[in-house]
């Protein structure tokens, strides 16, 4: 990844135009040709620097639901519990964190009522209490990681 790649990543985290020739517009802002931008983006996607180039949906407006949940996973069962929890398709992210509540995961479901059902199913399969921390309010963040 060189300086031009970084410039591209930083610019495209701010958004992508919705018009006939969006790459040409972005290329113009970055003093690149459209061909060069397309070629570099293809490489960044192929080598995994960029996960995805596309939309981020508002799950709730789409009729779905999200929540943050956590469990206290005993150390001797940690790997087993990781496998169980990750096997649920509703688990979108799962992180180990340094706390007594040491496994934190995001649940994403197609409908709100499925959140409680999934939590119950996870509790049954793991034998653990699942702490559910649904969002009350989201504060707007300009999500951008400087490359």
């Amino acid at each position: 990844m060189d300086e031009i790649d970084k410039k591209i990543i930083n610019a495209l985290q701010n958004g992508f135009p919705i018009c006939d020739a969006p790459y040409q517009q972005v290329a113009g802002q970055l003093n690149l040709t459209e061909q060069e931008l397309l070629a570099r983006l293809t490489i960044l996607l192929d080598n995994g620097t960029l996960t995805r180039f596309g939309p981020l949906y508002n799950a709730e407006l789409m009729g779905g639901a999200l929540t943050l949940a956590a469990v206290k996973a005993p150390h001797d069962r940690f790997d087993e519990l990781t496998d169980i929890i990750n096997s649920f398709p509703e688990v979108a992210h799962n992180y180990a964190r340094n706390h007594e509540l040491n496994m934190w995961f995001v649940l994403a479901t197609d409908a709100p009522e499925q959140i409680a059902q999934t939590i119950m199913a996870i509790e049954q399969k793991t034998g653990l209490t699942v702490y559910n921390m649904p969002k009350i309010k989201e504060y707007f963040v300009n999500l951008k990681l400087e490359a």
């Binding site: 990543i9 985290q13 958004g15 992508f16 919705i18 018009c19 006939d20 020739a21 790459y23 459209e34 983006l41 996607l45 995994g48 620097t49 960029l50 996960t51 995805r52 180039f53 596309g54 939309p55 981020l56 949906y57 508002n58 799950a59 407006l61 789409m62 009729g63 779905g64 999200l66 943050l68 990750n86 688990v91 979108a92 992210h93 799962n94 992180y95 180990a96 964190r97 340094n98 706390h99 509540l101 934190w104 995961f105 197609d110 409908a111 702490y131 921390m133 649904p134 969002k135 009350i136 309010k137 989201e138 504060y139 707007f140 963040v141 300009n142 999500l143 951008k144 990681l145 490359a147």
Partner: protein, 165 residues
């Protein structure tokens, strides 16, 4: 209200926009819409907030952001809104939420800081605490040890209930 054609379009682009000169034309060809219709529908969906963002989704570890901490605070209800707004303005804060307190878990304000390393994250947290006068509130700092799973929320074709809703 979401129309069936919006849903088709959203489902089609969720795995990514084509990297070519006329991406919206290509999307249209795949779902039987003109380029103009694709552009109009996407513009509307963006304005309505159904599409939160259109652009690149980065893997933070690939960009050298190896440390992330979730910091949780116990703050009084009267000030939570103001603090949430202040905290979310810092460029290193990547998420900021109010969540309910729980028995054994008295925290209601959550934020995430991504940094190149742990020391940078702690340093940024210090800046945040000082600037927003957060030192009087109980907090916990939960660094991530390992990421087991990370996927985008994949949107699935709606069942009859949503299509008729």
């Amino acid at each position: 209200m979401l129309e069936t054609r919006d849903l088709e379009l959203l489902e089609h682009i969720q795995r990514g926009l084509p990297v070519c000169s006329r991406p919206y034309l290509e999307i249209g060809l795949c779902c039987g819409m003109s380029e103009t219709e694709v552009i109009e529908r996407l513009t509307k969906l963006k304005q309505q907030g159904l599409i939160k963002r259109l652009g690149v989704i980065v893997k933070h570890r690939q960009l050298g952001y190896r440390a992330n901490a979730m910091i949780v605070w116990n703050v009084p209800d009267q000030v939570i809104k103001q603090l949430g707004k202040e905290i979310s303005h810092f460029s290193f804060v990547t998420l900021c939420y109010q969540r309910p307190k729980q028995p054994e878990w008295p925290y209601n304000l959550y934020c995430m800081i991504h940094g190149k390393d742990k020391a940078t994250v702690l340093n940024q947290l210090e800046q945040l605490i000082e600037a927003c006068h957060l030192n009087c509130f109980d907090k916990e700092i939960l660094f991530s040890r390992q990421c087991f799973k990370q996927r985008g929320a994949i949107y699935q074709k709606p069942g009859p209930s949503l299509a008729h809703g």
